[in-house]
């Protein structure tokens, strides 16, 4: 089974994961307080540009990753557009009531969801879990106990997917399950969970057998520090935010400054 997609490493991959996490978290919260749709649209476009140019993945995969989040955009926006309240009615049919205000609010919410998604994708596509946890231990003083447990957990995921396929095949050769959803879930959950619990316990013992503990001084195979890519990261996000704000205020697409 192939799990690895080949990608090009860009400057975003070589930034400090803790810093990147902080910057993106900050923007995440910041987006919550943007009420001008023009600014938000610009900001989303900026993120989209970064996503397409600097995550280093082939177009095919970028589109694939983006697709579910685009659906989130559509569904978030449409529910607000179709059922929201407002004064200037554009269209009315039964429960559906589209007004100018609800349309703008819906689009605004959609773009907010989209920028959340893009921030998340930008982070996860350019950060190896191993580097993230090494950085968290070194820069943010996360306890090794937690960091390595997470890493061991990450390793279990592909194993579980493989086991899931085995269980599915096993059910097929026995004639399948003809009971309901609950029964079906049980058939999958019990063998997968019991195997994982046992495996997790064994890995924990194996880690301690290799003298893993929180007490002793440990060294790090990957030393993760800061470099010029980190300056670039901060500058790029300041520029994107500033340009989005300036253009949104001075060259608006729609003559609305606040959708509330």
């Amino acid at each position: 089974m192939k799990w690895n997609i080949h990608y090009r490493e860009t400057w975003l991959h070589h930034t400090n994961p803790s810093l990147k996490l902080m910057v993106l978290l900050l923007l995440f919260i910041g987006v919550l307080f943007v009420h001008n749709p023009n600014v938000l649209i610009n900001f989303s476009l900026g993120l989209l540009l970064l996503f397409m140019l600097y995550t280093g993945y082939p177009w095919k995969f970028l589109l694939l990753f983006f697709l579910p989040f685009f659906l989130v955009f559509v569904s978030t926006a449409s529910s607000m557009i179709l059922f929201g309240e407002g004064k200037t009615t554009w269209f009315r049919w039964g429960l559906i009531h589209v007004t100018e205000e609800s349309f703008l609010r819906g689009m605004h919410l959609g773009f907010r969801a989209l920028s959340f998604a893009l921030l998340g994708l930008l982070f996860s596509l350019t950060t190896r879990p191993v580097c993230l946890f090494y950085s968290l231990m070194q820069q943010l003083k996360l306890k090794p106990k937690y960091a390595y447990s997470f890493l061991a957990g990450v390793r279990l995921i592909p194993m579980m997917i493989e086991e899931f396929q085995t269980v599915r095949n096993a059910l097929k050769v026995r004639g399948g399950v003809n009971n309901g959803l609950f029964e079906k879930m049980k058939r999958y959950a019990i063998p997968l969970l019991s195997q994982s619990i046992r495996r997790a316990q064994r890995i924990a013992v194996a880690m301690e057998a290799k003298r893993f503990s929180d007490d002793n001084e440990r060294t790090f195979y990957y030393e993760i520090g800061f470099g010029k890519n980190d300056i670039m990261l901060v500058v790029v996000f300041i520029v994107v935010t500033a340009v989005a704000y300036y253009a949104g205020v001075h060259y608006p697409y729609i003559p609305v400054e606040d959708v509330r």
Binding site: N4, V130, T166, V173, A206, F212, Y221
Partner: protein, 484 residues
């Protein structure tokens, strides 16, 4: 000689069990010794290793009491399951994890990692995904990361139990090279490659008592019967088995065509993973499917069961398989790991499962299930949960539950893998009895002895292709191949 690890009057009991696993067990190991611990499964060999290394009670919480315990200062522990002893995704990172734990400076790590990989004969790029390694390679990586701790004592807890013959050989070769000046304490069920390495054998019985402790060759020859009855794979076990069995294979070569393949191909995604130009399988045949790791043996079984996409001609009993709606009523499939196959909460219900799906009559189900429970020696366990069974019982149950619908074609994916000698022979005899009644067996195996003594034909798979299809000559039971 200086003692390096010992316990005195050890008492240990697992929570929930009625009896003590060890009662006043005393044992001492000396510097530089190579010791093999033998005993039936469940007698506490692994537990003893865990006590001697201090994993019990420091990492595994089991109540124990001992008058005196001497633990070695520097030790390493290799576990049985190659998939559950690593916590990092890449080879170099895994070894680095051990180096980090003992505080080796970062600058020295790269070189140390390279040296360790060389020492265990693992010639791969250090930054290789562990997931892509074979079982034997994973266990040698486990050895490398344990060696990183610079141990004086190595505890090896059945390191080859889940490894095929080739990997087993490699692992023991490696151990012999790296452990010359170390103390090595081994628990193992397949002792072919271990016997010439150890100089002391300790034999335990099922009550956790030491029944023999002494020089390896002496103990082995004096207690051979005990060792045989414990199901251990020792050199010559096949010869003795075949001699005892008064071997007479009735070759029921029948004309009835069970499977016919022509230009048959199996796909994973868009890639052809297995192809068969032409092959016919008749009733009463036992076909051993052999080939290297990853050659496509299991894939062939998956294709025959249509668990993957296939094309070309595939006929069952002369009929196009596309027209067969419920393939699982004609073909029985047994997976390598029995646990993934279990779907019910008791042994009895597990066997009845397929019959209930087919909505057979209650009386008929009860009768069939009872017959199989007895035939597969699971009668006493019929109300237990499948997960509570022993390795051998689990295996037998998985076979019984698969063939319950009266299928006459058995597809088996390494069914004897990880089984001890006793259970392996029991399973093979069961399968043989079905074959004699006209069933057909297609079985993936790595064991040359099974091919030689049980199969009637051999298929060799190479690079996703059936390249050889040859009958196995019928010869005398003597001259077994060195057993696993």
């Amino acid at each position: 000689m200086k003692p390096i690890a010992s316990v005195e009057r050890l008492r240990l009991k697992f929570p929930g069990k009625d009896t003590l696993l060890f009662k006043d067990l005393s044992i001492t190991f000396y510097e530089g010794e190579k010791v093999l611990l033998l005993g039936p499964s469940g007698c506490g060999k692994s537990t003893l290793l865990q006590v001697l290394s201090g994993l019990i009670p420091h990492s595994i919480d089991v109540p124990m009491k001992a008058e005196r315990v001497q633990l070695p200062d520097h030790w390493g522990y290799v576990f049985q399951d190659p998939d559950s002893q690593f916590c990092m995704p890449f080879v170099d990172e895994e070894i680095a994890f051990a180096l980090e734990n003992i505080g080796v400076p970062r600058e020295q790590m790269k070189e140390r990692i390279e040296n360790l990989l060389e020492a265990v004969g693992l010639f791969v790029d250090p930054h290789t995904d562990i997931h892509t390694l074979s079982g034997g390679m994973k266990q040698r990586l486990a050895l490398a990361s344990v060696l990183a701790l610079e141990p004086d004592v190595l505890f090896l807890d059945e390191p080859t139990a889940m490894i095929d013959e080739e990997g087993t050989k490699e692992i023991w070769q490696t151990v012999k090279q790296i452990a010359r000046d170390k103390t090595v304490i081994i628990v193992e069920h397949k002792i072919d490659h271990v016997l010439d390495f150890v100089d002391r054998i300790i034999l335990l019985n099922d009550q956790g008592k030491i029944i023999a402790d002494g020089q390896a060759q002496t103990v082995f020859s004096h207690y051979k019967d005990v060792i045989a009855s414990q199901g251990i794979w020792y050199p010559g076990v096949w010869d003795e088995y075949m001699a005892k069995r008064q071997y007479r294979r009735s070759v029921v070569q029948q004309e009835e065509k069970m499977i016919h393949l022509r230009q048959f191909r199996g796909y994973r995604l868009r890639d052809v993973k297995i192809r068969v130009e032409e092959a016919t399988v008749r009733a009463g045949e036992w076909i051993a499917i052999t080939g290297k790791n990853g050659a496509g043996k299991s894939t062939l079984l998956h294709a025959l069961m249509k668990l993957i996409r296939t094309d070309g001609t595939y006929e069952l009993y002369g009929e196009d398989s596309k027209r067969v709606k419920q393939l699982h009523r004609l073909l029985a499939f047994v997976f390598q790991n029995p646990e993934f196959q279990f779907v019910a909460n008791s042994v009895r219900e597990e066997i009845a499962y397929s019959l209930r799906l087919e909505k057979r009559k209650e009386a008929e189900i009860a009768e069939t299930v009872e017959r199989l429970l007895r035939r597969f020696h699971l009668w006493e366990q019929q109300n237990q949960h499948p997960y509570q069974l022993s390795m051998g019982q689990k295996r037998r149950l998985s076979v019984a539950a698969s063939i319950v619908s009266g299928q006459r074609i058995f597809l088996l994916d390494e069914p004897t893998f990880g089984q001890d000698a006793k259970n392996t022979f029991a399973l093979l005899e069961l399968l043989e009895s079905y074959r004699e009644q006209g069933a057909t067996i297609l079985m993936v195996t790595h064991d040359e002895n099974i091919v030689k003594h049980f199969a009637t034909r051999r298929w060799v798979i190479e690079d996703g292709r059936l390249v050889k299809d040859e009958p196995i000559s019928q010869h005398s039971p003597q001259a077994a191949v060195p057993s696993v």
